[in-house]
């Protein structure tokens, strides 16, 4: 069964309990932070910070307001990172978590470049670094527990459940309180769907969520890899073979003609 998370930004109070819980459960070191002019801390996701509450100031007509948005890996249903990795270091579990196998990684960083959400991060300070990101607390999921961040959330802004149920729940919330939400469950259709879903009072593009179509980014690339590559190989080989045959025959004919001419000359 596909699991999911529903993050309702209208319920989030910006307490960062999820951020701390994630660090604790996953044994991630604290980061040395600097004041960079925002309450958001640290400034971006990193190898040591797999989830981050982003603070965005928006003006929706009734004055400035803060919107808090917990960000992390979206656990795409069609993960670009997994499609990209040459050595299959990313795979999707049955429950929908996209997880990383450190033993396979060669560090090409293609996953980092292709992820539409910019999620995978590298341990830049290590001589032989790994790629790191939110792993949907697979160990907890497998033990039948909810992820650490969902458990820690005091306002139920993050809820864990079956993805289908969460979509129904999200749509229900929009129907019941249309004034409270924009009519968009982010992650339901984006790139063919993501396991993590969001509800918000302000349009998502104002919060820095990328605007994405319903087509998975992996489709084109995988179709080209499956059909394009062999057909290019076959076509090139065929064209080469054909030309080679043609040239060597022409050469033979030319030789034959020359021989014939010579014979004629000798005969006359």
């Amino acid at each position: 069964m596909r699991k999911g998370m529903l993050v309702d930004l209208t319920r989030c109070i910006g307490c960062r309990a999820c951020q701390v819980a994630c660090k604790q459960w996953n044994d991630l070191p604290a980061e040395e932070t600097q004041n960079w002019g925002s309450y958001q801390n640290p400034a971006a996701l990193s190898a040591d910070t797999w989830t981050l509450v982003e603070f965005t100031e928006v003006d929706e007509g009734d004055g400035l307001q803060w919107v808090f948005a917990k960000r992390q890996c979206m656990h795409c249903l069609h993960p670009a990172c997994a499609s990209a990795c040459p050595v299959g270091a990313f795979h999707q579990t049955e429950q929908g978590a996209v997880v990383y196998d450190p033993a396979r990684c060669i560090g090409c960083r293609y996953c980092m470049v292709v992820c539409p959400f910019g999620v995978p991060k590298l341990e830049w300070e290590e001589p032989l670094p790994f790629v790191r990101k939110c792993r949907f607390c697979v160990d907890r999921l497998e033990a039948g527990l909810e992820p650490a961040c969902a458990k820690a959330c005091p306002t139920d802004a993050i809820v864990f459940g079956n993805r289908d149920d969460l979509i129904a729940e999200a749509e229900e919330r929009i129907r019941n309180q249309p004034g409270r939400y924009v009519d968009h469950v982010y992650g339901k259709d984006e790139l063919g769907g993501t396991s993590w879903l969001y509800l918000s009072a302000v349009p998502f593009d104002k919060l820095g969520f990328p605007t994405l179509g319903p087509e998975p980014v992996t489709t084109l690339s995988e179709v080209v890899a499956t059909y394009g590559t062999p057909s290019i190989a076959v076509t090139v080989a065929a064209v080469l073979g054909g030309l080679y045959y043609w040239f060597s025959r022409r050469e033979k004919n030319m030789h034959a003609e020359q021989d014939a001419e010579q014979e004629e000359r000798e005969a006359s």
Partner: protein
């Protein structure tokens, strides 16, 4: 004579020093890791070294283009230029592999790519890595005759000669795949790569660019190396190649414009600020100028025309690859990247080492035809 000798010695020394500095920088990178020795970051995971690779892979394609012409179609008149071009392509490739290894964050596990149960057949990074590995082996086989002749090892030499057509054929197939899959790497990034560059036709464009850039590299290397070593060169051969380059450039331009038109993106040529400028620069310098130049007789039939035209194509290629792999990929707002001196030193050293080895190869291996025999060989 002694003056040119001195000049040559000076060049060798300078190239050697540059290589040495780069080698030391490379050691620092391996000891300390990518973080302290490059300016790469989570915002810019790819930088100068990736650009180096996506440029030199099509540059080196000249080797397979020329080996195709000589081995498969038996065009004997191209033999004299085949060896220097194949050696240049081989060296280009060797340093692609070196720089690629430098760029792998977990380089000590590069052999994971050879473990069959790890293979991800959907991944173009897999395809690229595989092609690099196999194609390097093929290039070794293509270069081997020059070395074996020198050492006078007849047996392996005969074996390789016997398999030449097969080797050349396999090389061409692989190299074509390789060039197009390099473009396919970016198919996964419709939201990352700027729409002026992102198109489903990326594999086709990368393949076409490799074909005309490879030929241009062949023209460039042939003219320059024959000139530098004072050997005779029949320009007629190269004019024919230049004509093919012009035809390919024409087709490339037509498809590029057609693609922008059908995607309704012509307007982007003027609205995207410096990205528009970069795109236009790449098209004008790399395609329009050499296209026009090689259409004229003067451009095709003089050595200066040939050198300038092929240099334009190569500069255009460099621009194109820098744009696609770095400048036109969107990064988080506020993030910047400029290569660290170690990245620059290593890249320059890779080129310098390549030129140095090419120089030594032409001096000590039978790469260029002997000055006196050259004319006889060409006529037989």
């Amino acid at each position: 004579m002694s003056k040119t000798r001195k000049l040559q010695a000076a060049i060798v020394v300078i190239l050697g020093i540059v290589t040495l500095v780069g080698g030391i920088a490379a050691i620092a990178r391996f000891v300390q890791g990518l973080g302290p020795t490059t300016n790469l970051s989570d915002a810019y995971p790819w930088g100068l070294w990736i650009v180096y690779d996506v440029f030199f892979i099509p540059f080196s394609a000249g080797a397979f283009m020329i080996s195709a012409v000589t081995h498969i179609y038996d065009r004997h008149e191209y033999y004299p230029i085949a060896r220097p071009v194949i050696v240049a392509g081989f060296l280009g490739y060797v340093f692609v592999v070196v720089v690629l290894l430098m760029d792998l964050a977990r380089w000590h596990r590069f052999y994971n790519i050879l473990i069959p149960w790890y293979w991800n057949l959907h991944s173009f990074m897999f395809e690229v890595s595989m092609c690099i590995t196999v194609y390097t082996v093929i290039l070794v086989l293509e270069v081997a005759p020059a070395i074996l002749e020198r050492l006078n090892w007849q047996k392996p030499l005969r074996l390789i000669r016997f398999a030449t057509v097969v080797i050349a054929g396999a090389g061409i197939v692989l190299s074509s795949l390789h060039q197009s899959s390099l473009g396919s790497l970016f198919l996964l990034m419709p939201y990352k790569l700027h729409p002026l560059w992102w198109t489903p036709l990326l594999p086709l464009f990368f393949f076409a660019a490799a074909a005309f850039s490879g030929l241009s590299m062949a023209i460039f290397v042939a003219v320059v190396s024959f000139k530098a070593f004072g050997r005779d060169l029949k320009l007629g051969l190269l004019s024919d190649l230049a004509k093919i380059v012009a035809i390919m450039l024409g087709i490339y331009l037509a498809i590029k414009i057609g693609d922008l038109l059908t995607a309704g993106e012509m307007g982007l040529l003027f609205t995207e600020g410096w990205l528009s400028v970069l795109f236009l620069a790449e098209i004008v310098i790399g395609a329009v100028v050499p296209f026009v130049l090689f259409l004229t007789r003067k451009g095709r039939e003089t050595s200066s025309g040939l050198v300038w035209g092929s240099a334009c194509v190569l500069v255009g290629l460099a621009l194109n690859r820098t744009n696609v792999a770095l400048l036109a990929l969107n990064a988080p707002p506020g993030a910047t990247y400029f290569p660290h001196w170690i990245e620059i030193a290593v890249s320059i050293a890779a080129v310098a080492a390549g030129v140095l080895l090419f120089f030594l190869a032409t001096r000590f291996l039978p790469v260029l035809p002997e000055p006196a025999v050259a004319r006889d060989e060409a006529t037989t």
